[in-house]
Amino acid sequence: MQLGELDVNLKLRSYLAAAMVTVLACAPAMAQDAPKQGGTLVVSLPGGTPRSLNPAVQSGVATGFPGTQLFAAPLRYDEDWTPQPYLAKSWEISEDGLKVTLHLQENATFHDGEPITSEDVAFSVEVIKEHHPFKSMFEPVTSVDTPDEHTAVLNLAHPHPALMLAMSGQLMAIIPKHIYGDGQDPKSHPRNNQDVVGSGPFKLVEFKPGEHVVLERYEGYWEEGLPYLDRIVARIINDSSARAIALQNGEIQMATFENEPTILSRLQDAEGLNLTTDGYGGVGPIDWLAMNTTRGPLKDVKVRQAIAYAIDKNFILNALLRGTATEARTGIHPDSPLYNPDVNAYELDLDKANALLDEAGYPLEGGKRFELNIELPGFPGYKAQTEYVKAALAKVGIAVNVRSHPDFPSWAEKVGSMEFDLSFDSVYNWGDPVIGVNRTYLSSNIDKGIWSNTQGYSNERVDELLNTAATESDPEKRKALYKEFQEIVAEEVPIYVTNAVPMHTIYADKVGNPPMGIWASSSPYDKVYLKD
């Protein structure tokens, strides 16, 4: 019931958002609403100092923001998950799904004035395929043909629908062949962080690690009148309380990927600031409780279901996360059109949990059934949840020992090598399920380090569904495959998904067109402007 309403709300919201985009797109015609040219936008750089500004060799949120300003991708996505032209003014997919043709903007140039050609597209695909950590994005691309300067044809070994999302946001940066094709290793190329020659709406003025990235409008940008802003200063402020104060006193006008419930609830009523969770569906961050299905009692699906029934998700959402997060039930982000909410939601039911544990052959003896360890990650955000799970499972006779880790690597080693029973974690979708979801559930990806299938989960039907969906070109059929997949993994709970990470964009009233697509701040700011 409640869920139906939510669904309608979501639809309404995305409809309104779409309407707004249409209005804004026509805005130059309506003088009173016209975005203003000029000004300097000061934002906080999400994720701290980026390792590299070149998204072709470095993924992640920190690289995403400067990377997508400096380098353009062929496509961009609107709020409705509909691809829009960007560096490619149009594209077509062949009937058999084996050829994807991109028609490039004809007057597009790199920041040094050289034209952006199909050669550069072919080169970029080659570099990304070789050096980007997400191998599944371009694996099926066998070659790129360049029939003329402005046409690039990607030849595929099999239909690959995930390619569409992989050609947007920060996932497919078009980089100049005449700079990066000089034989040096693209991963550690000196031009990744200094003297960057990009293809995007803004060019690099200065990158000072630990301090800021300063960007300036590229005068030769192919789209007339864009970008609106003269400058963007992205400041690196690692302390979240300091960021909050900087937002409140106007020192920075926008912050993205903010997800600390205490800070969010404090800024909720701050004057002149707006908070939104819109725009994070593509990045798709989800919090969950991972269970190692290869160890002890957790091998039994009944035990895993009992754990899910014993945990009160509402308590996590409302008390621990202060109502800042949306509920999630499967490994696909709730904002994704492929999300299936009609799966077992595991409403709190201690009797059912106890019954399942009895059935599984773990009777209550002296107030206890068995012991499990839970790893507390060395990154912030899971202490309360972890302590809560210990308390919640004690009620059904499962004694949980909390093992806390001082930092990320020590936790990652335990979980990455599958030496754990339970652990909270957050994993990102990164667009299509093929990129960020398959890795968690495919039996071929068991025990491959952190954020692989560290649950040791193996189900032939799930493998079949995911592999079929990866090459299924028909959107409706594809959706049906993922629907069934989500039902199965919700039933067998190798992972108990709790919520979408409460990522928020916080922006001042005077910021126009904040990034609301599916990639949040990992998307071009060419249409962002400052009001008077």
């Binding site: 100092t49 690692n238 309380s241 020192e251 990320f408 952190i450």
Partner: protein, 325 residues
């Protein structure tokens, strides 16, 4: 001649100390589970197994411990602090970029705490049971016992949010333009809150110590003689007593240098001050061994230089030390 010998011996010990610092830390970092490949994967939102293996091969993390150690120490002996895996840059460059900001903050805070501490100490020593003395003691101890980041946030809320006198973070405002003085004033404005926060820890030590030594000196025979001679109270206190009371305070200040450097890590993180502290914080979180070792190396160096400076200043203040040398 003698001074030269002392300095040489000091420097010799300093080099051995530095090597020991590096050896110990390298071993400790190696013993900790996990490595930088995990955090690089984290920064990328996950990576294939082969990518991880490639990272480990690239940085020689797959080599045996002794090989890695030998390589690193060999590099250090030829003045090469190595290459940061995480930041994709030579460690020496990274540190030299950040060093000036930290030196500026640390020295300003130290000198500020020292000056103010001594003044407050002397004032309260003159009327040890006066209201002012109790006031100073209260505030000094409050600053000493409050956690640095908490003091920092509190100052931010007070002076950046409620009364908007000072900027929240960073070292400079890149949006302003102007000549040298415009920028100098800008940096100075950014420095006020971090300096206050960092000095708050040391103010207590210096004011308490100078109060105690001052009270002791004021009770000694030569001060009584000076008073009997008919000198004014002011002359007695500032000319005769203070000089003697100062040596222990300066010694303490020298010893505190290591604490100032570690305090800088917290203060810089709160105020996003682009110094070694933020670099240390970032590098520790991502387990970037070469950078952490490089920072420890420079911190140790700063402490050693600080101590040498203290000796030097002590000699200036105290003629007896000069005579002994």
């Amino acid at each position: 001649m003698n001074l030269l010998r002392i300095t040489t011996i000091r420097l010799f010990y300093a080099v051995i100390l530095l090597m020991a610092v590096l050896l110990l830390n390298f071993t400790m970092m190696h013993l900790a589970p996990g490595d930088v490949a995990d955090t690089i994967a984290q920064s990328m939102g996950g990576a294939d197994e082969e990518v991880l293996a490639q990272i480990r091969t690239d940085y020689g993390l797959d080599q045996p411990f002794l090989v890695q150690l030998a390589r690193y120490m060999g590099g250090v002996l030829s003045f090469d602090l190595g290459y940061s895996y995480y930041h994709n840059a030579p460690v020496t460059d990274l540190i030299l970029q950040r060093l000036p900001a930290t030196l500026l903050l640390v020295f300003t805070a130290q000198i500020f705490a020292l000056l103010l501490g001594v003044v407050l100490g002397v004032i309260s020593a003159r009327k040890p049971n006066g209201i002012l003395s109790h006031f100073v003691t209260f505030f000094a101890l409050f600053g000493y016992s409050a956690p640095v980041f908490w003091t920092g946030i509190l100052l931010l809320i007070a002076f950046s949010l409620k009364i908007q006198w000072f900027p929240v973070s960073g070292m400079r405002d890149v949006t302003i333009s102007g000549g040298f003085w415009v920028h100098a004033v800008d940096v100075a404005r950014h420095m006020v809150l971090p300096t206050l926060t960092l000095s708050s820890i040391f103010l207590a030590l210096y004011s308490r110590l100078s109060r105690a030594t001052m009270m002791e000196t004021l009770g000694s025979d030569y001060v009584r003689t000076a008073k009997a001679k008919g000198l004014t109270q002011r002359q007695v206190v500032y000319k005769h007593a203070l000089k003697n009371a100062l040596s222990p305070v300066i010694t303490l200040a020298g010893l505190q240098f290591s604490a100032v450097v570690s305090g800088a890590v917290l203060v810089e993180t709160v105020f996003a001050w682009p110094g070694l502290g933020t670099l240390a914080f970032e590098s520790i979180l991502v387990r970037d061994t070469p950078t952490i070792l490089g920072i420890l190396f420079f911190s140790a160096l700063m402490v050693i230089v600080g101590n040498l400076l203290t000796d030097f200043v002590l000699r200036l203040v105290d003629p007896r030390l000069r005579a002994r040398a």
